[in-house]
C-alpha cells in the first residue's frame, strides 16, 4: 500500500508539471492583455509598459515559468494585482467554499445514484428500472446551468422558498438553505452516472455463478444482495472519484448562477480578466485535487475489494 502511495505521488509530479506548462502556454497565446483591466484606454505606451513590467509580462516565457515554479515550490503562488490579494488567500477561500458544496453534492448525488441504481438493477425490466433509466438519461442530458436557472426561477424568484444564492454559513439552517439549489443543480450528473454504473454492475453481478451458489448455500436474500452490492461497487467507486474530482474543481456555471464563491467562479473570473497568476494557481490546485481524490478512491477500492488489493500488490 505504501508503495502504491509513493508510486502515485511520483506519477502526480509529471501530471502537475504538464498541466501547469499547458495552462501557462495557453494563457500566453489567448487574445487579450493582462494589463487591460488595469489601465484606461488612453493609457500611454509608457504607462502600459510600466504595468507590464510590474507584472513581469515582458520577461522571456521560460524564465517566467521557472520563476513561478520556484516560488510555488516555496509556497508562494504570487500576488494578484487585479484582485489586490495573495493568490494563496484567494485559493484558500474559494477551495473551502467549493469543498463544502462538492462534499454535500457528492454525498447527495452518489447516495441517490446508488439507491436508484440498486433499485433498477435488482428490478431489471420493471417499471422502477425504466423510471430510473429515464431519470438518469435526463440527468445526463439536462445541462446543469439550465436546471440551475429553472430551480432559481421556481424556488427563489417564484415561490420564494429558498435563497437565490450566496454561501451563507452564519447558522446551520441558513447554510442548509443556501446549499439546497446549488447541490441539486451540481449533483444531477453525479447522480445520473452513479445510477447507471450501479445498475449495470448489479445486473452483471446478479448473473454471476457465485450468486446462485450463495443462494444454494441458503443465504438470505438480504445477505445475497449485500454480496452483490459489494462486488458491484468497484466501478462505482472509480466513477465517483472522477465525479468528486470534477465537483471539487468547481462548476463555473452553477457557481456563477448561485453566486457561490468557489473555484469555478474564481477561475472563470481570472480567465476573463487574464489574471495569469490566479489561473496558474487555481489549475494547479484543481489538478492536485484530482490526483489526491483518485488516489484516495484507489485506496478505498483496495480496502473494499481483495481482488483490487491483489492487483496493486
Amino acid at each position: 500500500m505504501i508503495r502504491l502511495v509513493l508510486r502515485r505521488v511520483g506519477l502526480a509530479i509529471p501530471i502537475l508539471v504538464g498541466v501547469s506548462v499547458i495552462v501557462f502556454l495557453l494563457m500566453t497565446v489567448v487574445p487579450g492583455s493582462p494589463e487591460a483591466g488595469l489601465v484606461p484606454e488612453d493609457a500611454t505606451p509608457e504607462e502600459r509598459e510600466a504595468i507590464r513590467d510590474s507584472l513581469g509580462l515582458d520577461d522571456p516565457l521560460p524564465l517566467r515559468y521557472l520563476e513561478w515554479v520556484g516560488n510555488a515550490l516555496q509556497g508562494d503562488l504570487g500576488y494578484s494585482e487585479q484582485r489586490r490579494r495573495e493568490v494563496a488567500d484567494l485559493l484558500g477561500q474559494a477551495w473551502g467554499n467549493t469543498f463544502v458544496l462538492a462534499l454535500v453534492s457528492a454525498i447527495f448525488g452518489i447516495a441517490l445514484g446508488l439507491l436508484l441504481g440498486y433499485l433498477a438493477g435488482t428490478r431489471r425490466g420493471k417499471a422502477v428500472d425504466r423510471l430510473v433509466s429515464v431519470l438518469s438519461l435526463g440527468g445526463l442530458s439536462v445541462p446543469s446551468f439550465f436546471l440551475a436557472i429553472i430551480l432559481l426561477a421556481v424556488f427563489a424568484g417564484g415561490l420564494q422558498l429558498l435563497p437565490s444564492g450566496g454561501a451563507d454559513f452564519d447558522d446551520p439552517l441558513s447554510a442548509a438553505r443556501s446549499l439546497v439549489l446549488p447541490v441539486l443543480s451540481g449533483s444531477l450528473i453525479t447522480m445520473a452516472i452513479t445510477a447507471r454504473v450501479t445498475r449495470a454492475g448489479i445486473v452483471d453481478v446478479l448473473g454471476a455463478d457465485f450468486v446462485e451458489t450463495l443462494r444454494a448455500k441458503g443465504l438470505s436474500e438480504l445477505e445475497v444482495r449485500r454480496h452483490v452490492l459489494r462486488n458491484a461497487i468497484s466501478p462505482v467507486l472509480t466513477t465517483s472519484g472522477v465525479q468528486i474530482g470534477a465537483l471539487l474543481g468547481g462548476s463555473v456555471l452553477v457557481e456563477t448562477i448561485f453566486r457561490w464563491p468557489g473555484m469555478g467562479l474564481l477561475l472563470y473570473n481570472a480567465i476573463s480578466a487574464r489574471d495569469l497568476v490566479v489561473v496558474q494557481g487555481a489549475t494547479l490546485v484543481i489538478a492536485l485535487t484530482f490526483v489526491v481524490v483518485n488516489l484516495l478512491v484507489d485506496l478505498l477500492q483496495a480496502a473494499i475489494d481483495p481482488r483490487v488489493r491483489g492487483t496493486m500488490s
Binding site: G37, D42, T44, R84, A156, G158
Partner: protein
C-alpha cells in the same frame, strides 16, 4: 481571428422563457417580506450589482463605473462631486472636499480652498497634506507610497496634472500641463484615502482597511462575496439616511431578478427588459431615463473600406433600424441621432443625424462603389460585460439590417477584456487589423474629458486613435473646448466637434441606453440622474424616514 458567423432569426432567449416561469410563479406567490425593511431610521439597501465581483475599494476602485458608483463615491470623496440629487440636467462638478477653487488667467494654475472640519472614517483630519499625499501616490514614482496600479487606473484623471503644492493647511495649488479648463471634471474621480491608514497597512493591504471621508464607511469586505457599508455619522454633508448598504456581485441578469423577487435585495441592476411590465404590475419600481451611455460602434478608419469612404459610412448609418432594435429590447434603449442624446450640452442642434432609410442606404452603398452582396464586414463585439446593453440581440438585428441593403456581416464575439485590449492596441495592430467595425459602449458625454480617446486623432498620451479616426476639425474643436473659461464657450466648441463627427459619420450612431434599474417598493428618495453615478445619501428603505 475571424470566427464563424452566427446567423438566424431573432429568437427569444432562454432567459426570456425562464423569466416567464419566474414571473408567473412570483405573481402567484408574492410575499410581503421584502429585503431591507428596518425598524431603524433609514433601513438597509441591498443591491445586486451586475459586476462579476465586488469592486475593490482602492483609489480608484476597479469594475469600471460600477465600482465608482457603488464603492468609490460611497467610501470616498474627491475635491469635486457631481450634483446627482437632480435628474433635470447633466450633472456637473460641484464643490466637495474643495469648498471653492479659482483658475488663474493662464488657465493652468488652480488654487483650491479645502473644506475645514472634514474627518476620515478613522477620525483623522482631511487637510492639504492628505491631498498632496494622494497626488504623490498617483503621480510621483519616487514617493514611498506610490501605487503603480492605482496610478495606472487613475491615469485618465491625472493626465493633465503637472504639479501640486500645499500652500497652507487648507489651500492647495495644482498646475496643469497645458491650458486646460476641465480639471474640476478630472478631479471627480481622484479619491482621497486616509494617509494614516495607507501608512499603517501599505498599498498592498490597504483594500481590507479602506478609509475615506465619504457618507459610508466600509464595515465588511469579503472579496467575491459581499461588501457592507455603514453610515458615517460625521459626514460633512450631514449623515446619509440609510443605515447600511450591502453589495452583492451577480453578473447573471436572471439571478439578479430572482434575488429581487425573493426579497434578498431591494435594488437590482439591469434586469432582462422582458421583465419590466410584469415587475411594474407586481409593484416594483422600474426606472428608465436618459443618461450618457450609448452603443456607438467604431469604423476601422486605418484602411479600406471605410477610410476615405464617407458614403459607405453614411449608408450603414441609414441602414440601421433603430426603432426596431429598441422594440427588441422592450424600450430599454432608444435610437441615437448623435453620439450624445438630444438635450445634452454637446448635442449639435442643427444636425438631424441619420434616420432609418434603406433606400437611401442602398443608393449610398452604390455611390460608395459596392454592389449588393459584394461587401462582407467583420464586426468585433463583446458578448457581455457591465454597461453593454444587450449585445446578442442587437447584433442579430444589425446583421439583418445590413443584409437588407446587401452588406453581409461576420460576427466576431470577443470577451470584454479582449475588447479593452483591442482599444489599447488599436485596429491597426497585426492582431486586430481584420476587424472592420468594433463595438463601443462609451459613457458618451458623461465627462467632457471622455471624448479624448474616441474622437482625438492622437490620444492625450500620443497614441493614435484606436480606430484610426483623424479629423482636423474635430481635434481643433475639442482642444479649443478644453481651453475655454466659460462653460457656454466650451459647449459651443463641443457642438461643432459633434456636428463634424456626425456629418462625417465616424461612428455607427446606434442606441442610447435608458439605464434600466429596478427596486422594491420600499426604496424611497432615489433620484435617477443623467449619470452613471448615483447619490445614495438621499435614499432610505422602509417607511420611517
Amino acid at each position: 481571428m475571424t470566427r464563424p458567423a452566427r446567423r438566424g432569426r431573432l429568437i427569444p432567449s432562454l432567459a426570456t422563457l425562464l423569466l416567464a416561469i419566474s414571473l408567473l410563479l412570483s405573481a402567484c406567490g408574492q410575499s410581503d417580506s421584502r429585503a431591507g425593511s428596518s425598524s431603524t431610521s433609514g433601513g438597509t439597501l441591498q443591491i445586486a450589482m451586475s459586476a462579476a465581483n465586488i469592486p475593490f475599494p482602492s483609489t480608484p476602485p476597479n469594475q469600471g463605473y460600477e465600482g465608482y458608483r457603488f464603492v468609490g463615491n460611497n467610501i470616498y470623496d474627491a475635491l469635486t462631486r457631481l450634483d446627482l440629487d437632480q435628474a433635470d440636467t447633466l450633472p456637473t462638478p460641484q464643490p466637495a472636499l474643495a469648498e471653492s477653487w479659482e483658475m488663474a488667467d493662464d488657465l493652468m494654475t488652480y488654487t483650491f480652498t479645502l473644506r475645514q472640519g472634514v474627518t476620515f472614517h478613522d477620525g483623522t483630519a482631511f487637510d492639504a497634506d492628505a491631498v498632496v499625499f494622494q497626488l504623490d501616490r498617483l503621480k510621483n514614482p519616487e514617493f514611498e507610497f506610490y501605487s503603480q496600479t492605482d496610478a495606472a487606473t487613475a491615469a485618465s484623471a491625472t493626465r493633465y496634472i503637472d504639479s501640486w503644492e500645499k500652500i497652507d493647511d487648507h489651500t492647495v495649488q495644482i498646475t496643469t500641463t497645458q491650458e486646460y479648463t476641465w480639471l474640476q471634471w478630472d478631479l471627480l474621480s481622484i479619491y482621497f484615502p486616509s494617509p494614516t491608514v495607507v501608512r499603517e497597512f501599505g498599498n498592498q493591504d490597504y483594500n481590507q482597511h479602506a478609509t475615506g471621508t465619504g457618507p459610508f464607511r466600509m464595515t465588511e469586505y469579503v472579496d467575491g462575496e459581499v461588501m457592507e457599508l455603514t453610515r458615517y455619522d460625521e459626514y460633512w454633508r450631514g449623515p446619509a439616511k440609510l443605515d447600511q448598504i450591502i453589495l452583492y456581485p451577480q453578473p447573471e441578469a436572471a439571478s439578479r431578478l430572482s434575488m429581487l423577487q425573493s426579497g434578498e435585495v431591494n435594488w437590482a441592476e439591469v434586469p432582462s427588459p422582458d421583465s419590466m411590465s410584469q415587475l411594474e404590475a407586481d409593484g416594483y419600481q422600474v426606472f428608465l431615463g436618459k443618461y450618457p451611455h450609448g452603443i456607438m460602434p467604431r469604423f476601422n478608419m486605418f484602411r479600406e473600406p471605410f477610410r476615405d469612404n464617407l458614403a459607405l459610412r453614411q449608408a450603414l448609418n441609414y441602414a440601421l433600424d433603430r426603432e426596431g432594435a429598441a422594440a427588441l429590447m422592450n424600450g430599454a434603449g432608444y435610437p441615437a441621432k448623435q453620439w450624445v442624446y438630444e438635450g445634452h450640452p454637446a448635442y449639435a442642434p442643427d444636425n438631424p443625424g441619420y434616420s432609418y432609410d434603406p433606400e437611401r442606404a442602398k443608393q449610398l452603398l452604390a455611390e460608395a462603389g459596392y454592389e449588393p452582396g459584394e461587401l462582407t464586414l467583420n464586426f468585433g463585439y463583446t458578448t457581455g460585460g457591465s454597461g453593454n446593453m444587450f449585445p446578442d440581440v442587437m447584433m442579430q438585428k444589425l446583421q439583418a439590417d445590413f443584409r437588407a441593403i446587401g452588406v453581409e456581416v461576420t460576427l466576431t464575439p470577443v470577451e470584454w477584456t479582449v475588447l479593452i485590449s483591442i482599444g489599447l492596441d488599436g485596429l491597426d495592430s497585426e492582431q486586430w487589423e481584420d476587424i472592420d467595425v468594433l463595438w463601443a459602449s462609451p459613457a458618451a458625454g458623461m465627462l467632457p474629458t471622455g471624448y479624448n480617446s474616441s474622437f482625438m486623432c492622437k490620444r492625450p498620451g500620443g497614441q493614435a486613435n484606436a480606430a484610426g479616426m483623424c479629423d482636423e476639425v474635430v481635434d481643433e474643436q475639442l482642444t479649443l473646448a478644453s481651453q475655454q473659461a466659460e462653460v457656454a464657450d466650451q459647449n459651443a466648441h463641443l457642438q461643432q466637434m459633434m456636428d463634424q463627427a456626425v456629418s462625417e459619420a465616424y461612428f455607427l450612431f446606434w442606441m442610447h441606453d435608458l439605464n434600466l434599474r429596478v427596486m422594491s417598493p420600499d426604496v424611497q428618495g432615489y433620484v435617477h440622474p443623467q449619470s452613471w453615478w448615483v447619490d445614495f445619501t438621499t435614499i432610505s428603505v422602509g417607511g420611517d424616514s
